[in-house]
């Protein structure tokens, strides 16, 4: 292999790496993809929801053979305190469309499928191979990589770093820094298996219909974070995650938080009788627009989680990963067609294309929100106030309605005061704009 030269080397076989390698290989480029796991997906963890649009732009007929779990017909948003939740549910028959918009997936089989398509498109994929460093020429241009296989350099016109949030190569090469504890969340997750009839009965589903629940509140013990519960065909993915800086400043354990979430009186019945078959953890880049590193340079590009491409507010990540992988590939293909070298100047087109896409537009829109979410009242005071208000409103106990309204209003003003309430609302509004 040492004598071979590739058009492109893609580091990592997650959604961004696969999207990039597939797009390059289908257009005839000679692609090498390196993956440190035993098989593609063996190191990857996600909730996981697949947003069809991003994949459809890469593999239009993916629904024919991709391992999809359930298409989502109902979204629940829960604000939780210790004993209650106050929620919004949206369910629509419109989501039972010919080409559904969102699916739950299980990452290991999904990544294996995607990787098989990459391989069929003609890319060479080497698993159990960890990239140890980038190789540069005398002009500091990246011209290849070294791996832990035999230490020999492998050369390519361009190296695409799709190495994920905890990727070492880019950080060691000084292309980006290690994420800061307040820009990255740690999420833990379990897979709970149940007969599919049980899942369908519990969640009011037919066939491959699915429900997802996103939740926030006292379940994170005052830390900035959220919990989730997604229905798959024969199992439920349940997890919870918080900013790492919040974890380090508390005495909470991630698994203790997950256990308490599972024991919540609104969650426990949904999991009753299930068999747990896996416990996983992963970091989620949550720093948003301001945490995005330099994305291109002489002979290299960064895609996916390694570039902090996660929209934490909308719980979107793998679609941004696939889209950045595709756009990186299209940039490379364009330069190849024009016989233009893979220099920083030429590769700046990648950033321009990203800026014009929903990826950067969405992240830019919420560039101030990560700060707003450092307000701990969002995860403690408000869930409790809202729960109390709902209970006051719905409990029929001989107290007149006007008095109930006054009691609810007073509880808000008593707890947060006018200044606090205004500040919280303005903080969120500013971030949202």
């Amino acid at each position: 292999m040492a004598d071979e030269k590739f058009d492109a080397i893609v580091v990592g076989a997650g959604p961004s790496g696969n999207a990039c390698a597939y797009t390059l290989a289908t257009r005839g480029l000679k692609v090498l993809q390196l993956e440190r796991g035993e098989y593609p997906g063996s190191k990857n963890v996600q909730g996981a929801i697949l947003y069809a649009d991003a994949l459809e732009k890469i593999i239009p007929d993916f629904r024919e053979d991709a391992p999809l779990e359930r298409h989502i017909i109902e979204q629940r948003l829960w604000m939780m305190d210790d004993k209650s939740y106050c929620g919004a549910h949206y369910r629509s028959e419109d989501f039972n469309e010919d080409k559904p918009n969102r699916y739950t997936i299980i990452r290991a089989p999904f990544d294996k499928w995607f990787s098989r398509r990459v391989s069929e498109a003609g890319a060479l994929i080497l698993c159990e191979t960890t990239v140890t460093e980038l190789v540069r020429d005398a002009h500091d241009k990246v011209i290849g990589v070294r791996t832990d296989r035999d230490g020999a350099a492998i050369y390519a016109d361009i190296v695409v770093l799709a190495e994920g949030v905890s990727g070492l190569v880019g950080a060691r090469a000084g292309l980006r820094s290690i994420p800061k504890p307040d820009t990255v969340a740690l999420a833990v997750k379990e897979m709970h298996f149940l007969p599919r009839e049980t899942i369908e009965a519990r969640f009011n589903l037919q066939g491959d219909e699915g429900v997802v629940i996103e939740s926030a509140g006292t379940i994170t013990k005052g830390m900035a974070g959220t919990g989730f519960l997604y229905t798959n065909k024969e199992c439920i993915s349940i997890g919870i995650g918080c900013l790492i800086s919040d974890f380090t400043n508390s005495d909470q354990t991630p698994y203790g938080l997950l256990e308490a979430f599972k024991q919540h009186p609104s969650v426990k019945p949904l999991l009753a009788g299930s068999e747990v078959k896996e416990y996983a953890a992963h970091m989620i880049p949550e720093g948003g627009y301001k945490a995005i590193p330099q994305l291109f340079g002489n002979g290299w590009l960064i895609v996916g989680d390694a570039g902090q491409f996660v929209n934490a507010i909308h719980r979107e990540g793998s679609n941004l990963a696939m889209t950045t992988g595709r756009i990186a590939a299209e940039t490379i293909l364009d330069l190849k067609t024009r016989n233009a070298p893979m220099t920083a100047n030429n590769l700046a087109a990648y950033k321009t294309r990203l800026d014009e896409s929903f990826v950067m537009k969405d992240l830019k829109k919420y560039k101030n929100l990560p700060n707003a979410f450092h307000n701990k009242h969002l995860f403690t005071t408000y869930p409790q106030l809202i729960s109390k208000a709902a209970q006051t409103w719905f409990r029929v106990d001989g107290v007149d309605k006007k008095a109930k309204e006054n009691e609810i209003l007073k509880s808000f003003f008593r707890t947060r005061r006018v200044k606090g309430l205004l500040g919280d609302v303005l903080g969120m509004a500013r971030g949202w704009r």
Partner: protein, 100 residues
């Protein structure tokens, strides 16, 4: 509810569900020798989702990487301060997620 539940959680029971290919004798993370652990090292004893970090009777923080789920959290917390060295396991070794 929560405090009782949390103290009863044994992370070992959770890790028991997972598949690992342990690279015996070649830990991919090491703790830098120290006499008094920093607040960051102490935080790792509860932040690590696999409970890999423990405080020995001597007060120092130790690591056993066998159950590591390779999330990178300890790297984010402690590597910039030189308090740990962090690498991936060799290609193919480490945790092997069946579902992910």
């Amino acid at each position: 509810m929560s405090t009782e539940t949390e103290t009863n959680v044994r992370v070992e029971d959770k890790l028991f569900q997972n598949r690992y290919l342990v690279d015996a004798g070649r830990p991919h993370i090491t703790v830098t020798p120290h006499t008094v652990p920093s607040p960051r090292l102490l935080a790792l004893t509860h932040v690590c989702p696999a409970g890999c970090y423990t405080q020995a009777d001597s007060g120092q923080v130790e690591i056993s990487t066998d159950g590591c789920v390779e999330c990178g959290t300890c790297r984010v917390v402690a590597e910039p301060y030189g308090e740990i060295t962090w690498n991936y396991p060799r290609g193919g070794f480490g945790v092997l997620f069946k579902f992910g």
